[in-house]
């Protein structure tokens, strides 16, 4: 095991970096997407329930199935991986963003409007900052979840540690096959912990002191 690690360290590190980078970029994309979507729906009760249903149903779709379905229209490689990871990353964030935005007290929004803030300004300077801790909690859940999903995305020859797992599994019993799987899995766990740590740090830095728990 140790030899395997030392021998392949550059490849492993590269795969790990690719995995991490895929997840982080998809998370950023998903966060932006979620906030825009949430901002569009949270004022309307009907649209809010639609959004909640979609996020609930979306999470029941097996990621493996979705990636299989995507290979036909978009082919192999990075594209299906990004689509699948972003899709799943969006669901928890969207849900939390809607909850966060609609739980800003009506009186606070009213006083923002009452002193002459436009809708957009109220959203950007009052509602989003107040909803941010909840949105960030969604991002953390999302990050843990899509670390694993990004591995599955390697099925479509996407980048990352998933490649180690799939190649190991496909020739199980062969030389270094088990090592390959174990390194892939452990690598993903380490990355997940690392990312969570980073997100906690970001939370500290970006949550205004007045609403910190």
């Amino acid at each position: 095991m140790w030899d395997y690690l030392v021998d392949r360290l550059p490849q492993i590190l590269f795969a790990g970096w690719q995995h991490f980078s895929l997840v982080v970029q998809c998370l950023i994309l998903a966060t932006a997407l979620s906030i825009v979507l949430a901002a569009l729906v949270y004022r309307s009760g009907a649209w809010t329930s639609v959004a909640n249903s979609v996020t609930a149903i979306g999470l029941t779709i097996p990621s493996f199935a979705l990636i299989g379905l995507l290979i036909a229209p978009v082919g192999y490689g990075v594209t299906p991986a990004v689509i699948v990871v972003t899709f799943f990353a969006t669901l928890p964030i969207l849900r939390n963003a809607v909850v966060g935005l609609s739980s800003v007290p009506a009186a606070t929004v009213e006083s923002a409007r009452g002193i002459g803030m436009s809708r957009m300004r109220t959203l950007l300077t009052v509602e989003l900052p107040m909803a941010w801790p909840v949105i960030l909690a969604g991002i953390r859940v999302s990050a843990q979840m899509v670390m694993g999903i990004a591995a599955v995305a390697a099925y479509a020859l996407g980048p990352g540690l998933g490649g180690l797992i799939f190649s190991g599994l496909s020739r199980l019993g062969g030389a270094n096959s088990l090592e390959s799987v174990v390194v892939g899995v452990i690598g993903i766990i380490i990355l997940a912990l690392l990312l969570d740590l980073i997100l906690v740090g970001i939370g500290r830095l970006t949550t205004p002191k007045g609403i910190r728990a």
Partner: protein, 458 residues
């Protein structure tokens, strides 16, 4: 409607008269004739100045405004016409659900009227950009409506920031306003709302509303969420701020006593925004328009009259004072010297009020207490029996009863020490206020429902 719509920033000849739309204003509370609105036009000309021109109050005219919510048979407010004289405080009272909040929010268009128009100063504000309008109208709601994620300074500075003031000017203004609402800028400017008491939050709410010096202040049950003692202090502060700034204030309240205390005029509404009586507190207490008003005032209208006499109208006596920097020994010496010379004021001859550098009372000690002190406590005494000079005699009596003293300290603008008032003085003043009374009543502003007011559009 104003005959003289373009009198820009003319001399503020009328606004300082806080007790009504000056001579020649609508002479009857209701059923006013078209010509009666003319004085409003005159008021307007003096107050059309933009918000940051150090404006005092602007008059407001609601012209047959109606708000009908979809799916409701009766309108929440029906055809209300109401004149709010510049620089005066108008209290909207009435039973729950009668349309007070709806009326108030139509003024800053948080609720858009279904019908009718609103004129502020000499401008029809019914169709102007709502966000721009609201930056010229202060808005205070229960518990302040502060933004929890912003510091006190950021909360107060928000409107000036939107208006594009530079940083330094905003910072100066924030400190000035904290000072105005009796909070120490150094201590409070960097705090967050959750680090403040309810009363302090409410003060910040008022400071924020005043930040860009708007001519009009709208308040919806501003003191509903604080305890009675804090409420009384906040009311006193509002009165002294208003004496200084002369804004036009429209304030909704549940509490009729609060309306009597704060209002130059009180508008009593019934269901559907029907204006039942619109007159001075004195007139409403003496001559309630009908049973509805009488019931609303409740029992003890006679007692409530006492709410009308202010501490400033009674005799405020001098008391010995000593600066806090001088320390207890110097205070004791001053007290002893005065006693020996026989110049210690009667009633408070055995005590001395300690003032801070800005003449605000921080302690009140007897000679016995001073003897035992080596230094004054750092923190001001929170439980001092203090009343504002504009507080009612009832409040003064309350304050004395709560702290079981026979004297209370009287403060003026910005909590400056003025003197003391004794319980006998209060009783005397109450007796004489009762026997006096019947001075001539000022004419009340125009107010009615659905009656056609023929006014030429501006």
């Amino acid at each position: 409607m104003p005959e003289n719509p373009t009198g820009p920033a003319a001399p503020q000849d009328r606004t300082p008269q806080t007790t009504g739309s000056s001579a020649g204003a609508a002479t009857a509370p209701t059923g006013a004739q078209p010509t009666d609105t003319q004085p409003t036009g005159a008021d307007m000309s003096s107050t059309g100045a933009p918000a940051d021109a150090g404006s005092q109050g602007a008059s407001i005219l609601l012209r047959e405004i109606t708000k009908a919510y979809p799916g409701q048979k009766k309108p929440a407010v029906g055809g209300l016409t109401m004149e709010i004289p510049a620089g005066s405080t108008v209290m909207l009272v009435g039973p729950s659900g009668c349309g007070k909040t709806t009326t108030l929010k139509m003024i800053n268009r948080l609720i858009e009227p279904t019908d009718g128009s609103i004129i502020m100063g000499d401008e029809d504000i019914t169709t102007m950009d709502a966000d721009k309008l609201r930056r010229r109208i202060g808005y205070v709601i229960q518990a302040g409506g502060l933004f929890p994620h912003m510091t006190v300074a950021a909360n107060i500075g928000i409107v000036p920031k939107m208006l594009g003031w530079d940083k330094q000017r905003i910072a100066d203004r924030v400190d000035e306003l904290l000072d105005l609402v009796s909070l120490d800028p150094g201590t409070y400017r960097g705090r967050y709302p959750k680090e403040l008491s309810g009363g302090q939050q409410q003060r910040i709410g008022v400071a924020r509303a005043l930040a860009a010096d708007p001519p009009v202040l709208l308040m919806d049950e501003p003191f509903g969420a604080v305890d009675p003692i804090t409420r009384q202090r906040l009311q006193d502060e509002l009165i002294s701020i208003q004496a200084e700034l002369k804004k036009t204030i429209v304030c909704v309240t549940h509490d009729f006593d609060e309306a009597v205390k704060l209002g130059d005029w009180i508008a009593i509404f019934a269901e559907g925004g029907q204006l039942v009586q619109y007159d001075s507190p004195e007139q409403i207490l003496k001559h309630p328009a009908n049973d509805f008003v009488e019931n609303f005032i409740g029992s003890g209208a006679g007692l409530k009259q006492l709410t009308l006499s202010r501490v400033a109208d009674a005799e405020v006596r001098e008391a010995l004072t000593s600066p806090v920097d001088a320390g207890p020994a110097a205070a004791l010496e001053a007290l002893r010297t005065a006693q020996a010379a026989g110049t210690a004021p009667a009633g408070t001859e055995d005590s001395i009020v300690v003032l801070d550098s800005r003449q605000r009372p921080v302690h009140w000690f007897s000679a016995r207490q001073l003897e035992r002190l080596s230094a004054f406590p750092d923190r001001p005494d929170e439980d001092l029996p203090v009343v504002g000079e504009r507080a009612s005699l009832n409040d003064a009596l309350d304050t004395m009863l709560v702290s079981s003293t026979s004297n209370a300290i009287v403060t003026g603008g910005r909590d400056r020490f003025l003197g003391v008032i004794g319980v006998e003085t209060v009783m005397d003043a109450i007796t004489s206020a009762r026997s006096a009374g019947a001075e001539q009543a000022p004419p009340s502003p125009l107010g009615e429902n659905t009656g056609p007011v023929e006014v030429t559009s501006p």
